[in-house]
Amino acid sequence: MSGRRTPDVTLVFPPQWSPFQPALALPSLRAWLERAGHSVRVIDANIAFYEWLLSDDCVARLRGALDAASASTRDAYETFLGAAAAFRETILRVRRWQALKTLRTERLETYVAETYMSSRALDTYLHYVSHIAGGFKLSPYNFSIPGNSLRVADIESFLAHPPPLLMAFVALEVDRILEDRPRFVGLSCIGQEQLLFTLLFAKRLRERTSAPIIVGGTIFSRIFERGRLPAQWFRYVDVFVRNEGELPLEGILGLDPLDLGAGIARVPGVIYLKDGVPTSTAPAAPLKPDAIPVPDFDELPLESYLVGEITLPILASRGCYWGKCEFCHHGMVYGEKYSASSLDGIVAALDELEAKYGITSFAFNDEAVPPKVFRGLSSLLAQNRPRHFDFTGLLKFENYFQSEDFRNAREAGFRSLYIGLESASERVLDLMQKRSTSAVMVRNLADATAADIWTHCFVFFGFPGETEADAEETVSFLMSNSGIIGSFGAGTFSLEHNAPIMRRLAEFGVSVREAHADSIDVYYDYDVDRGIGPKRAIRWMEQLNEQSDGIPSYRAINWIPREHLLGLLSAGTVADLKRISIGCVDEGDAPLAMPLSTFTIDRKSAGHGRIVMNMLNGRTFALKGPLDVAFASVREAEAHLGDIEGAWPDLLTALRSGSGERASHQEDTRPI
């Protein structure tokens, strides 16, 4: 970063988070602080982490970790490590579609197939990286360590002895963060999966710089609210920011970095150590959306995200317009206040982002887009700029919505909607204070589907008071309405600290189990005195997932990460995507129409003949004698699996996921 001036603050977004889309938090904060006259550098260490994992440097470090493995295991993993470049090619190929907007529609089948292959190859790659490195499990969706990552003792043990591979990355990244000697360093932790990396970065930074280290995002705020923020973490962190970061961070940047203590008590919305005790100042005032500048994504490497079309996150409101759901604590982030942007403000932001970055896909990440904003924006854009933008957003079912709203929404560019269905039982919905009715849910879903908008519904089982009959109603609803529901995500109820239901536990028959003394979990274990309890809720969720696999349209999209969906839908219709996607899924990771070289890797091995790995599922096998020769011929001829499936059916079986017959020599099938 030679030539740039010393930043007032460098803001860092640590792993682990989605590698498919930039997060909104730091671009939003940067815009605010720059407007206030501060120089701000932003680093997405999460996407840097995924890119580094695919690098030769990382592969060289992994090789060193294999010394203790058996010869055959080393052989198998050498196939993987030796072909890291091929993995990279298959995983990163999806990014070339970012510059090929028109071709995405013209060659939709290839675009979907390459997205599928990229996504599956990334899963395989990270699976083996985790397996070889040891000490953690990583996927595009999660990061975890053995033991309980929500117990202070386990976290401290992780910080004292981090897996060498992770520490190598953190050390490199901290060098990058400090190269222009920022006055302050900020770390943003908005998801629980980032907690370990946030502390690991803070610890390393503390060793390398005297600049104050600030941690923002909701995760540590929640731990503090729960009364479990360990004082010992102030060894690594100077100040934690509570909830919205704009005003607190602006206040902190006005202090002397060498003497924070002199003024920190006057900054709103922060937690600092006072006489050895984590202490909070008064909350900062909630911000009005129209007072917040357009997010500034300037320093993010937008072309690096692992998708065929970049989607930028945006907010049309802060807080939740409904704000009554018993299970949800989201409102606390915004001081229980809600306010929406003006339509002019939203359109101006979209125009500015398009002009600056050439991006036309946006995700409204509001807890729920306010109905009047949804109607107004859809109507406005449908009239003035048809088929210009592509949108996705979160919505709540509302009687207010008419079929015309969804037709306008589609015309304006809405391709998919994420909706909190929660339960199909009106009795449970009333208990939750969600207050949706079956008739409205079906009508909204049918209207959206008729307008060619994909609908994804969130449901969960085990809300206190839910009965077996209620759960059955939800399962039946999803199974019988697959024509108007594109996809769904099923979960189980989580009892969150400070959620409204916490004030009425006795009324709901809930008793909270005492957490371990050093647990920082902001969700409580609990029992119910009637209805479905936590274990039974898991069973209902599993049952729904199992049953729904029998419905092709649900099965078709199971593999699609949420951040890919809008890009895929923007290139074709909902029906197109379902048709092509089910083909990918049902071919079981052995695509018949793609050359073998695009999804397999192979190498000669002294002991095993030729070792072949399917990048899409990790299946690895050895071929000897005539089969070795046959495979080499197929690769050389760039033949497709479909060309030779009749001549060599066993190859198809060996490559496919879930193939029934397994060869007798399974030398290493350790699950991680």
């Binding site: 990790g618 000897k624 033949a639």
Partner: protein, 60 residues
């Protein structure tokens, strides 16, 4: 210049010869010439589960 029908006939012959060669190689192999080393250790990653956080939705 070859017409289209001739081209297709030629291609079919090439694919069929290639298939014959592969089929012969496969036929001459012994049962232990294909040995599985690592199975598919991952369940299909599911959008039902990915990015799901508490109460079935993403927290940001």
């Amino acid at each position: 210049m070859e017409d289209r029908a001739e081209q297709i006939t030629k291609q079919v012959r090439i694919i069929s010869d290639f298939n014959l060669k592969i089929a012969e190689l496969v036929k001459s192999a012994s049962p232990t010439d294909l040995i599985e080393i690592l199975g598919d250790q991952r369940s299909l990653i599911s959008a039902k589960h990915n990015n799901q956080n508490q109460n079935g939705r993403l927290i940001e």
